[in-house]
Structures are given as structure tokens and as C-alpha cells.
């Protein structure tokens, strides 16, 4: 065993300084003088940009400087000695500010002694914070209009900064108009900056490690070859990186400038070349300068230079640092599996063989791991790699004799084994809008090619099975695995921190089934019940409660799943669809009020409000009273049970669920015709000037509002008629059941299928846009009637008239457009919110602070309550507590 002595160091901070030309020159391994990259034979030219001393790009060659191979050598910097200094475009504005503050003669900051000491005090206070620059701005404001320097009394001239890197000094005295404005060359600027004494630097936001003259470049560092690799196109040609192209330009111009200077060329030519050099160096650093045409590739596309590499979504920060591509991940289509527990995930065999978990060999697992190695990478369960303590990795796919290697295995080695049942993985669906979009699941390796998940866990992921794909990540270290298991396991997320209730729960058929089970009249024989309980997996636990009974009611059966101390009362979802004036609570004739006493369902039907994903009172109370594991078990067993029950009973729907007797159809038709007539009347009133405008609205607006109101009522009324008749049907109407229990759909869906679609609308108004004064040419100009502006009187079952179909399409299109726009808008908003809120933390003193320690809230949420532990958002639900107690007592 090798003991490694670790010396722990702590990083206090990071500081970014301006690099001095001396450092740059010291860093460099080569001086770049020639613009040629490769010579005729294809070898990199010495003193050129692809010099082998800068690093190596080909896997075969070794770096001349450090001897590293392709992957090892990190590359080394070179340097270009600029013939003339050039402004660093990134600092251009900063330099402008400095020039405005210092004296043109002695280069000292133009502050008086008192001002100096005053500012010094403030600067010392804010040392190290970003607010220093605000003080600098204040200094600028104080100083800029001073005509003379307080120290040397020299007269000052105004300095104008012209984009993007030109500085002009204006001498108001000078008579000659042309000589008034003098362009400051980088040499002039550098001289002035050099003269600034170290003491004055603090007023500028700099210090002795950040001398301002270093912002005017004399030596340009050349990034190593590894930073700007060339690519080989399909044709075999070598294409250089954009940065290399730009550097070539720089070297070329630099050479020309040097030659011109030596040869003693005339001023204008020197200036031209210098200008060009400045342009090239500026675009090399940032190619998106405003006011400058971007440097373009031969093909016309603008080059991607240093600043572009860092900016924006695909840039270094957002695209490679905050978010990266990772190993040990997988992605496939998802499919449902009701037989998995809610915190399990079904992993395809192929995936499990590719994703590995690193395990350190100890004396307890040595034999087990040896067996895995013998199985090798192709036989499951096996292993893919072995790591020796000296760091050598053995790829088991290439090993000839696995048994040999297995025998060599010893304590301290690391085996990368296949993913196996019981491992913890992170499971995620994009867009990841809340923390429940990524939860920890327990692996269950299954045959097949899809990830499988339990249905109750669909709502937090917002997943459906119409082709959705999800991602899986395998935590690699023990710490990560532990954190996932303790903090992120699915059951820990059952209660949502948004509203304090369950976000994981029963959906769709679970709810329909529960209604059918627990409504009055449902009876199950003992035999059947035992079968179903076995499927649910709780037979052994509840067998005792069965006693001798031969028949059980649905409510009794449901009670078998409840722990004995639950006492709650609430209105079921059914209640709403009856619209009673006053709730009779326990005596509700529709059986719509749920009463659970001492774990027994006494009254009421179990539907969405009881066990559903966003509202489930029962799930909520079990999770809060008995813990998350109990909630998980409840959901696992109950869902299995209810699905089996429903399968045996059978459940379907068809067009006959929307069948209405002739009487109903006539009544609906009557209502609709009435309303269309009423609309005509209102229009007539409007035309005759008899319509009274509503307060604050114009006449036209009032008209439209009234019409929409009439028609909306028409649809609702016809829907009510349909509902009335559907309720009275002999056989239970399954579509209606799904709607009123909250399983799927709503009364609106049924209305539209059976009775009437109603008014189609675009952005809140009746359909308006089309031909002049009418939507379609089928109508007369100026027709404001119901049908002319998008009222569809037919139902889906009856079939739509082509004109009605057109209006319906217009309304439907708006919905699609809306969704498309909304997702991108909300995505941007979410990003901004997250960026603003992500480092807020609740400290041990109860306050909410950000990364700097600034207090944002004195108590979390001003009440100190964790919403996921609150009762549907309320800190304390007194009524429920009382019920909990009274319920018990009442029994006695």
C-alpha cells in the first residue's frame, strides 16, 4: 500500500492582472518572425507560427520544448515583437479615461492634496471590491474640466476618444485649424502612462502589478499551437484555425512595418502600416468591435477570434464551463412500467454494460469483484476497466486471459464494473425547470432498449410516452452516490417546495379506477380481493384485517391501504360537478364528501383530490404523518392494486359516450338558435344607436363583449344540457367519469364533443382578420353575426361545416403559436431568475444571504417555514389538526 502525504492548501482568491511585456517575453519559448506556417515538405517552419517549440498537434510528434507527447504537452507561448506599440482594444476605453485624468506634462493625477487624502480614505475602505471603479468615475468627474494641473501647473488639453482606438488631443489655443486636433500615437500614450508614479495608480484602479503602460502592447503573446489547432479536411488539405490566420496577418504587417522603418520610408506609409497593424491586433482580440468591419475569411464569413471564443451561448463560459458534455451518461426513449417502484428506473442491458461504476477493492468485496472481472466486459454482470494503484489502466476488452488478470486483483485496486441493480443514478428530463426534473433513482437492469419509469413519477418530470427521451447520469464517487441517495431520491421529492403538496401521485386510470372502486355499490368477493392484494404486494400485511368476511365494499378495500391513524375530511373532485348551493358535508347525497376516520374510508369517493398528483390529500397526509418511505409504499402498492382492479372490470370509451337522445339534441339546438337570434338583436341595437356603452369602454368594445358573453353562455348551457342527459344514462358514461373525477379531460371536452364547440377566438377576440369588413368571402361585408365571426354551433360528433372548420383552425393555430413563443420566452426568464437567485443560501442564523454575505431576507420567506413541509402553503392548518384530534375522540 502506498501512503501519500497530502499537504492541504487553501485558495484565498484569484486575481487577474495585466501582463507586463517582460513577463510575456520571459514566458515565450520562441520569437515569431515569419508569417509562413509550413514549408514545402509540410514541416513547420522555424520562427513561424507552427514552430514545434510551441507545442505539437500531430499525435506522432513530440514537443521540442518539453518533450511531451500529443496529449501531454499543454503547449507553450511564443511572442511577437511588435515594431511599434499598439493599443489593446479591450483597454481602449479605460486608457481614454486615464488620459483624461492625468496631467499631460507630469502625468500625475490632477487632484489637489486634500482631494487626494479624501479619496485615499474611501479607496482604502472599499479595497478589493468592484465599487472601486465607481470612485474612479467620480474622480474623473471631479478632474476632467480642470484646465491646469495642481502639481506642475501645465495647461491641459481636451482629449477626445474616437472609436474604436483613436485618441485625439485638442489644443484650443492653436491658431492653425488643421493643427488643432493632434492624434495621439500609441507611443505618445505609452510615454504618458509610463510617467505615472506608482502612488497615483491607486486613484486609477491600478497598482504596481498593473502598470497602465502595459495596456499598450509592445510584445504580443502568441498562444500555443494547442489553442489554435489546424484541421484536416476530407480532401486531405490542412485548414488553419482562425486565430492562426489572424496571427499570420499580424506577423506579415509587423514585418513590413519593421522593414519600412529600417529602410527609412516616408511618414504616411509608416502611419498606414502602423494603422493596419493596430487594426489586425484589435480584431485578433475582438472581431465584433462596433464601428469596424469584421475581419473576414476568404469565403466571406467573419473570423472567430479571442473574444468570440468566450462570448455567448456557445462560448467558453456558457458552453464549456457552466454546462459541459459529460461522460457516464445515457439517453433513450422512455416507456412506462407499473411494476417498478416509484424510485426505480429500468435501465436497458446495453446501457448498463457501457456505463460503469468505479469500486475500490477491499477485503470484503475482493472475491465478488474478481468474479466480475472473469465475466469480462461482454458478459453481464462484468467489468470494463481495472485501475492499478500506479495509475495504469487495463482495458478488459483487450485482455486475452481474463482469469489471469482476475487473480492479480488486490486490495487498493479500482474496478470499473457494469451498472447493477441497486446502484444509484440521476435521472433527468429536459427542460429542467425545477429540482424535481432531476432525481435519484435505484437501478433495475431490464431487457429492452428504453428507460422505464413508474407512472406516478411522470408529473414532476412532465414526461409522457409519446417519444420523449430522458437522460441518465452515473455518480462516480462514494460521496456523490451517498448525496444522491440521501438528498435526491425520488421519495424525498414527493412534496413540492412550490405549494407544499404532493407532486408525485396517481394519474389517469389510477383515478378512474379509484372512483369505480370506492363508489357506492361496488362489491368485491374475498377471492378476487385476495388475488388483487397479492398483486399489490400487501397481502401479508393486511390479511389479518380481512377477518371472515366473504364480501367487501370498495370503501372497505381502500381502507386496507391506509394506516390506522389517518383522520381527514375534504371535498372530492366530484363535488364540483354537482354544483350544490350549500355543501352538506358528511351528508352529501352524491357521496362527494370524503371522510376518513381512524384509517377507514367512511364516506366519499376517492379521486383526484384524494390521491392525484397535484392535489392528493391522502398522499399528502401519509407523507407528512408517516414519512416518505410510507408514502412510497402506499403509492407503489395502491397503483398496482387499482390497475389490476380496473383491468378486470374493464374500462373503455367510444363515440357512444357522446350519444344524446333526440330530446337533448333538440333542446341544445333551441338554445343555440336562441342565442344566435339574441346576437342579431344586439347588433341591431348597436346599429340603431340604442346600445349603451359600458363604463370605460367604447361602443364597439361593448358590443363585442356582449356578443361573446351571449355565445359563451350558449355553449355552457348546451354543455349543461348534455351533461344532464349523460348523467341520466343507464350505463355509466366513461367519458363523463374521467372528466368529473379528474382523471383526464374536463366537462368542456365533453361539451365540445357532444353539444357544441362554441366561439373560436384569436387573442381574446372573435376571429377578425381576413377580407375587408369580413373574415371570409362567404359572408356579406359588415356581417357581425355569430356565425360570421367564428361561432361554431356544431359538435365534433356532428361534424363541422367547412367555414366552421376554418374558424376552428384559426383559433387552434393561435394555440400552437402561443406554445412555441411561450417556451422560448419563459426559458429566457427562467435563466435570468436562476442566474440572479442561485447563490442564495439559508445560513445557520436563519437569514437568507447571497455569496457576498449580503442579507436578502432576515428569515426565510419571512416566516422561516420550508414550503415542502408546510400544509399546502399554510404554516399550520389548525382545522386539520383539530379534525385529527376530534376525529379520534369521536370514535370513542
Amino acid at each position: 500500500m502506498i501512503l501519500i502525504r497530502l499537504e492541504q492548501k487553501q485558495i484565498i482568491g484569484i486575481k487577474f492582472n495585466i501582463m507586463s511585456p517582460e513577463t510575456i517575453r520571459k514566458m515565450a519559448v520562441v520569437k515569431i518572425v515569419t508569417p509562413e506556417t509550413y514549408d514545402e515538405d509540410g514541416y513547420p517552419v522555424d520562427g513561424g507560427l507552427m514552430d514545434r517549440r510551441l507545442g505539437t498537434v500531430t499525435p506522432g510528434l513530440r514537443c521540442k520544448t518539453c518533450g511531451g507527447k500529443f496529449g501531454e504537452c499543454p503547449g507553450h507561448f511564443g511572442v511577437i515583437e511588435l515594431a511599434r506599440p499598439v493599443i489593446h482594444i479591450g483597454y481602449a476605453k479605460y486608457i481614454a479615461k486615464i488620459l483624461k485624468v492625468i496631467c499631460r506634462n507630469c502625468s500625475r493625477v490632477r487632484l489637489t492634496k486634500e482631494e487626494r487624502s479624501k479619496f485615499l480614505e474611501r479607496l482604502k475602505k472599499y479595497k478589493g471590491s468592484i465599487l472601486l471603479f465607481e470612485i474612479f468615475d467620480e474622480i474623473i468627474k471631479t478632474v476632467k474640466d480642470r484646465k491646469t494641473c495642481p502639481h506642475c501647473n501645465a495647461v491641459q488639453y481636451e482629449i477626445k476618444f474616437e472609436n474604436p482606438y483613436n485618441y485625439v488631443e485638442i489644443n484650443p489655443e492653436e491658431q492653425d485649424k488643421r493643427k488643432r486636433e493632434r492624434k495621439l500615437t500609441p507611443i505618445d500614450i505609452r510615454e504618458r502612462l509610463e510617467k505615472i508614479p506608482d502612488d497615483d495608480l491607486i486613484f486609477l484602479g491600478l497598482d504596481e502589478n498593473n502598470r497602465p503602460e502595459w495596456m499598450v502592447l509592445t510584445a504580443l503573446p502568441v498562444p500555443p499551437v494547442t489553442v489554435r489547432p489546424s484541421i484536416i479536411l476530407e480532401t486531405g488539405e490542412r485548414s488553419e484555425d482562425d486565430l492562426t490566420h489572424k496571427l499570420v496577418d499580424i506577423v506579415r504587417i509587423n514585418k513590413k512595418l519593421m522593414d519600412a522603418l529600417e529602410a527609412g520610408a516616408p511618414q504616411p506609409i509608416i502611419e498606414d502600416l502602423w494603422d493596419l497593424l493596430q487594426y489586425h491586433v484589435a480584431t485578433y482580440i475582438n472581431n465584433e468591435i462596433s464601428g469596424m468591419p469584421p475581419a473576414k475569411h476568404r469565403s466571406g464569413r467573419p473570423l472567430k477570434t479571442l473574444a468570440q471564443r468566450l462570448k455567448g451561448k456557445e462560448g467558453r463560459f456558457r458552453g464549456n464551463l457552466s454546462g459541459k458534455r459529460v461522460n457516464y451518461s445515457a439517453r433513450t426513449v422512455i416507456s412506462p412500467d407499473p411494476n417498478l417502484s416509484l424510485n426505480e428506473v429500468g435501465v436497458p442491458l446495453e446501457v448498463a454494460k457501457e456505463l460503469t461504476v468505479p469500486v475500490r477493492v477491499t477485503m470484503f468485496n475482493k472475491e465478488f469483484l474478481k468474479q466480475l472481472i472473469r465475466n469480462g466486459p461482454h458478459k453481464y454482470p462484468g467489468a470494463n476497466y481495472i485501475e492499478r494503484p500506479d495509475g495504469v489502466r487495463i482495458n478488459l476488452a483487450r485482455v486475452k486471459n481474463l482469469d489471469e488478470v482476475a487473480d492479480k486483483l488486490d486490495i487498493g485496486w479500482v474496478v470499473h464494473r457494469h451498472l447493477m441493480d441497486g446502484d444509484i443514478v440521476l435521472f433527468n428530463r429536459q427542460p429542467s425547470l425545477h429540482r424535481m426534473s432531476m432525481m435519484a433513482h435505484i437501478v433495475k437492469v431490464l431487457p429492452g432498449r428504453t428507460f422505464r419509469l413508474n407512472l406516478t413519477v411522470c408529473p414532476p418530470y412532465n414526461a409522457d410516452f409519446d417519444g420523449d427521451e430522458m437522460n441518465l447520469h452515473v455518480p462516480q464517487t462514494e460521496e456523490a452516490r451517498a448525496e444522491a441517495r440521501i438528498l435526491m431520491l425520488v421519495q424525498t421529492q414527493i412534496l413540492s417546495p412550490r405549494f407544499g403538496g404532493p407532486i408525485i401521485g396517481c394519474i389517469h386510470d389510477h383515478i378512474s379506477g379509484s372512483y369505480l372502486l370506492t363508489k357506492r355499490g361496488t362489491k368485491i368477493s374475498r377471492e378476487e380481493l385476495i388475488d388483487l392484494l397479492y398483486i399489490a404486494g400487501i397481502l401479508e400485511d393486511v390479511y389479518n384485517k380481512l377477518g371472515d368476511k366473504k364480501e367487501f365494499t370498495g370503501k372497505e378495500v381502500f381502507s386496507l391501504f391506509l394506516p390506522d391513524d389517518i383522520n381527514i375530511k375534504f371535498k372530492s373532485k366530484l363535488c364540483k360537478s354537482y354544483g350544490c348551493e350549500k355543501c352538506l358535508e358528511e351528508n352529501c347525497p352524491h357521496d362527494a364528501f370524503v371522510v376518513i376516520r381512524n384509517g377507514k374510508l367512511i364516506r366519499g369517493v376517492i379521486d383526484e383530490k384524494a390521491i392525484g398528483a397535484f392535489a392528493g390529500e391522502v398522499v399528502d397526509i401519509i407523507a407528512k404523518k408517516h414519512g416518505l418511505e410510507a408514502a412510497r409504499k402506499f403509492l407503489d402498492s395502491y397503483t398496482k392494486f387499482i390497475i389490476a382492479f380496473l383491468m378486470r372490470r374493464g374500462f373503455t370509451t367510444g363515440i357512444d359516450d357522446e350519444d344524446l337522445p333526440q330530446e337533448a339534441i333538440e333542446r341544445i339546438e333551441e338554445v343555440l338558435q336562441e342565442s344566435i337570434k339574441k346576437v342579431k338583436e344586439v347588433i341591431k341595437m348597436y346599429e340603431e344607436g340604442l346600445l349603451e356603452p359600458l363604463p370605460g369602454r367604447s361602443l364597439e368594445e361593448t358590443l363585442e363583449m356582449k356578443i361573446m358573453q351571449i355565445l359563451s353562455e350558449a355553449r355552457d348551457t348546451s354543455g349543461r344540457i348534455a351533461n344532464e342527459y349523460l348523467e341520466k344514462q343507464r350505463k355509466e358514461n366513461h367519458a363523463r367519469i374521467m372528466a368529473i373525477t379528474g382523471a383526464r379531460g374536463s366537462l368542456l371536452n365533453i361539451t365540445q364533443m357532444a353539444a357544441c364547440l362554441g366561439q373560436q377566438s384569436v387573442r381574446g377576440e372573435r376571429v377578425k382578420r381576413g377580407f375587408i369588413n369580413r373574415v371570409l368571402s362567404h359572408f356579406k361585408k359588415g356581417d357581425l353575426g355569430a356565425k360570421a365571426r367564428g361561432f361554431v354551433a356544431s359538435s365534433y360528433k356532428k361534424g363541422l361545416h367547412p367555414v366552421e372548420y376554418f374558424f376552428h383552425a384559426a383559433g387552434g393555430r393561435e394555440g400552437l403559436v402561443d406554445t412555441a413563443i411561450r417556451t422560448s420566452q419563459s426559458g429566457y426568464m427562467q435563466r435570468r431568475l436562476i442566474n440572479a437567485l442561485q447563490d442564495l443560501k439559508v445560513e445557520y442564523d436563519g437569514t437568507v444571504r447571497d455569496a457576498r454575505g449580503v442579507i436578502v431576507q432576515f428569515k426565510y420567506g419571512d416566516d422561516g417555514i420550508d414550503p415542502s413541509r408546510s400544509d399546502w402553503g399554510k404554516t399550520l392548518d389548525v382545522k386539520k389538526i383539530i379534525e385529527g384530534i376530534i376525529g379520534e375522540k369521536r370514535e370513542r
Partner: protein, 509 residues
């Protein structure tokens, strides 16, 4: 109930579902293409030489080529390495990665001082041929012929073959050219009414605006003038010197309110009285800081070429332009006074669909222009070097061919638009048909653009209500309805003749 189905079936059988592309391409070959060639005839070089084409007549369709007289467009040919020529069919083009193009020949003559130096028929380039069009080798063949040639008789055609890949020119939906449209713009606080027109002549497109600001002053903005010029001044520069003339040009009938508006404008700029003063004022805006002569020259150039080019690009057309501006001014004033409504930019009356005909016209115009430029250059070179003048040497066919081929192959069109030509979707028959009937709006995908994405009443019978993609393109990418017919351009001259016969008087007073 009368069963109308057989009617629709017969209608569809008549020309197929892709006929819009084929009709468009045929129209291009018959009308637009010879027109472009004619427009570039009579080329004067700086050195006193004249290049003239032979006479271009109405097309006659022969077996292997279309005969325009001096201009001939051949059906697709393949020229092998040994020089032999053979008819090219789409199948071979696809397999061998060839271009399904046909050679274009033109009779060109070089003259100096009326003396003919050379005359000959040369190949000036290759014409891309739309599969199944009149120029295609498969046109008019029977079912059995197709089988014999191993071509698919049910393939709809309507696409081009470039470098072996099938390329569709996607139909682009654009605002109508040369039509005045009223729009209201909000610049922060100020709301301003504008009459806009996209004036197109030949390949050149300019946007001219007449703006009415909140004080009622009218400005006119057109390319090459930064900012706008007061309308009154511009009209004076165009020739309407007297206030009464301007008043008459704008107002239509007696109306005190509008008269007032015009008077406000006339008074504000009353100090500029003559045409010359007006020109001077404008010239200062166009080229400030230059000598007067130069300024005026540029101004004249700008007014002729960039202001309402669809009315003409010569000094004689200035009066017409002034009257037209008067019309625009009246509209904008009425709009400002609340008498006119803003134009609905999504009403299909205000939209035009640009198919192969228009798109190819744009490319060919530029390509031909470059070809002519090159001819002049080559001619000058020959003269300079004292070599013998030969038409075959002057006319280089690769320029035309390469430009057209590159545009079709990459989808990058003149004017910067990308994605104009797309690789034909061959996933299944339905997807191919859908691709060939796609209509794309040039509006930005990243903006919400709610109104443009809505289903509009005028879409009835023209654009499909249902087929549109989900996501950022929703409502911007549309598909033609089954019963939709797209007309090809009708010649303006014919319509003008009819109008003249009916008694319409031309403005040239």
C-alpha cells in the same frame, strides 16, 4: 346532394399537383430569359467598340432546343471527356452527379464604326432545367417511354438537378412590389404615419417612404439620402415649381381639411422657390462638403435611379414621379386624419409568391450582367494585345454557368437570402409533394410576429389551414392548398394597351 368529387379529381388530373413550379419555369424560359438577354444588348465599350446580339424573336419549340432566333436554349446534354454529346436524362444526372443543364447559345457580333469584325454563334452558359418542364427531355413522353428510359413515371418533377442532387426552389412569400402601403410606426413617444412602397425595376429594389410626422410635415425617404427630404422640396426639384402644381398633384377633390394640410407644408418650405434651389438643397444632403457640380450630378443620379425606379430611370420620368409622390402624399394625409385604415400586411392581396421564375430572373440578371462586363474586359484585352478579335474568345461561358450553379447548389441567392434552394425531401412520396408545395415567409423566426403567424381569412382556398410546423417556424412556413393556382407574370405591355384602348391617358403632358 351533388357529388362534386369527380370535378376535383379531374381538375387535379389536368396538370398535376406540381404544375405551379413547372408553369413558372416555362414562363421564365419563354418570357423572362429572352427579355434579360435583350436588355443587355448593344454594349458599348469605352474604346469605341460595339457588341451586338443577333435578333431575338418569339420562341419556337423544336425537338432538341428552343429557338429564339439568335438565342437558342438546348435541352439538357452531357458532354463526355472525348467531346461526344448525348441527351442527358435525370436518372443519369442523378447517378453520375452531373448538372441537368442545357447549353445556351447566342449569336454575337463585334463591330467598330459600323464595321463587322466578327460574328458567330457561341455557347454563353448552361441553363438549369427543371425536371418535367417544357425544356426537360422527359416532356411529353408517354408512360411506356418512361419505363423504357428507366425513369419514374410518377415522379412529379418541379425540381432541378445540380451536382447530382435534387434541388427545390422554395416558394417565397413577399410583400407586393410597387404598391403603396400605409403603416404606422411608433418611435418611442412619437407615432408617425408612413406610406411605403418597394419599387422594383429589373433587379433593383428600393424602398421609398413618404412620412407624415406629428406636425403634419411630409418627408420623403429613399435610398442614398440619409434621413429624409421634405416632400415639397423634392417635388419642386422634380419639376413642379409652382405651388399650384404641387397642390394639384396631391389633392384629388375639394376638401378643406386636406387643403389645409398641404398649405402647411407649402408654407413651411416656401423659401425654396425654384427647381434649382430645390436641387441644391437636396444635393447638400446627399453629398455634403463637395463641389457644387459633383453634388448636383450625384443628386440627379439619385433622383433618377433610386427614387421610384419602377416608374423609370431617366430624366423624362421625373414628372411622373412627382405626380406619384403626390398620390402617396394624399394617402398618408388621409391616413393621418383618420380617413384611411392601416394596410393589412397579411392580406393576401398584398402578397406575392415568388417561384422559380422570379428567383431565376434575379440570379440570371446579375450573372448576365457580369458576363457582359467580362466580355467587355476580354475585348479590351484582345485589342490591347493586338490579337485577332474572335467572338469565341470574348464570350466565356463559365461565368454565367458558375454563378447560377453556385446559387442553386448552395441556396444563397443574390440579395443575401439563404435557404432558397433546398435538397428535395425524398423520405416518402407525401413528403416530396409537401416539400414542393411549401411557402416560406421571409420574416424572422426569432421574433414573435403574432399577426404574421395567424391563419388569415384570405388564406381560404389558397393556403392550407392545418399543415404548418410546430415550433419557432409555426405559421411562417405554410403549404399551398390543393385547389390553389399560381399565375405567372403577365406582360405589362398587354395590360397597358388594353387600358389605352379604353381611354386612359398617359401622364406625359
Amino acid at each position: 346532394m351533388l357529388d362534386l368529387k369527380p370535378l376535383s379529381i379531374e381538375w387535379l388530373k389536368k396538370s398535376g399537383i406540381i404544375k405551379h413550379h413547372i408553369n413558372s419555369f416555362n414562363s421564365f424560359i419563354r418570357r423572362k430569359f429572352p427579355q434579360i438577354v435583350r436588355e443587355h444588348d448593344n454594349i458599348q465599350t469605352g474604346t469605341g467598340y460595339l457588341i451586338k446580339f443577333g435578333e431575338i424573336k418569339e420562341p419556337i419549340f423544336k425537338e432538341d432546343y428552343v429557338d429564339f432566333g439568335a438565342l437558342k436554349v438546348y435541352k439538357p446534354l452531357v458532354i463526355e471527356a472525348d467531346g461526344s454529346k448525348r441527351k442527358l436524362y435525370p436518372l443519369e444526372a442523378r447517378i453520375r452527379n452531373l448538372n441537368y443543364f442545357g447549353p445556351i447559345t447566342l449569336e454575337i457580333g463585334v463591330y467598330k464604326n459600323d464595321e463587322e469584325l466578327d460574328y458567330g454563334e457561341v455557347t454563353i452558359g448552361m441553363m438549369p432545367v427543371m425536371v418535367r418542364s417544357e425544356l426537360c427531355n422527359l416532356y411529353g413522353l408517354s408512360y411506356d417511354d418512361f419505363i423504357r428510359l428507366k425513369e419514374d413515371p410518377f415522379d412529379p418533377g418541379g425540381y432541378f438537378i445540380v451536382n447530382g442532387s435534387e434541388r427545390v426552389l422554395i416558394i417565397i412569400e413577399d410583400l407586393t412590389q410597387n404598391r403603396i402601403m400605409l403603416e404606422r410606426e411608433e418611435k418611442g413617444m412619437k407615432v408617425v404615419e408612413i406610406a411605403k412602397i418597394f419599387s422594383k425595376r429589373g433587379g433593383f429594389r428600393a424602398q421609398i417612404k413618404v412620412i407624415r410626422d406629428k406636425d403634419g410635415i411630409l418627408y420623403c425617404a429613399f435610398p442614398s439620402i440619409p434621413g429624409g427630404v421634405p416632400l415639397i422640396i423634392l417635388m419642386k426639384a422634380l419639376g413642379l415649381e409652382k405651388d399650384k402644381d404641387i397642390y394639384d398633384a396631391i389633392i384629388l377633390r375639394e376638401d378643406p381639411e386636406i387643403a389645409n394640410e398641404i398649405l402647411i407644408n407649402l408654407e413651411t418650405f416656401g423659401d425654396i422657390k425654384t427647381k434649382d434651389e430645390a436641387m441644391d438643397y437636396i444635393s447638400r444632403k446627399i453629398a455634403p462638403g463637395q463641389i457644387k457640380e459633383f453634388r448636383l450630378k450625384r443628386t440627379e443620379h439619385a433622383i433618377d435611379k433610386y427614387l421610384l425606379p419602377h416608374l423609370g430611370v431617366n430624366p423624362e420620368d421625373r414628372l411622373k414621379k412627382a405626380k406619384f409622390l403626390g398620390r402617396m402624399a394624399l394617402k398618408v394625409i388621409e391616413f393621418g386624419l383618420g380617413r384611411r385604415l392601416e394596410d393589412d400586411k397579411d392580406h393576401y392581396l398584398n402578397k406575392r409568391l415568388r417561384l422559380a421564375e422570379d428567383l431565376l430572373e434575379d440570379v440570371f440578371r446579375v450573372a448576365f450582367y457580369k458576363f457582359v462586363q467580362d466580355m467587355k474586359y476580354q475585348l479590351d484585352r484582345l485589342i490591347h494585345r493586338g490579337k485577332r478579335i474572335s467572338v469565341k474568345v470574348i464570350a466565356r461561358s463559365d461565368i454565367l454557368t458558375e454563378r447560377v450553379r453556385h446559387a442553386l447548389a448552395t441556396g444563397t441567392w443574390v440579395g443575401g437570402r439563404t435557404g432558397v434552394s433546398q435538397l428535395l425531401d425524398r423520405t416518402c412520396f407525401m413528403s416530396t409533394m409537401s416539400h414542393l408545395r411549401r411557402v416560406v415567409s421571409p420574416l424572422s423566426r426569432s421574433q414573435p410576429n403574432f399577426e404574421a403567424r395567424d391563419l388569415h381569412g384570405t388564406h381560404w382556398g389558397r393556403i392550407c389551414t392545418t399543415e404548418t410546423p410546430e415550433g419557432p417556424n409555426c405559421g411562417l412556413v405554410k403549404n399551398l392548398a390543393l385547389g390553389c393556382e399560381i399565375t405567372t407574370e403577365v406582360s405589362e405591355e398587354k395590360v397597358e394597351k388594353v387600358l389605352k384602348d379604353l381611354g386612359v391617358i398617359s401622364i406625359r403632358k
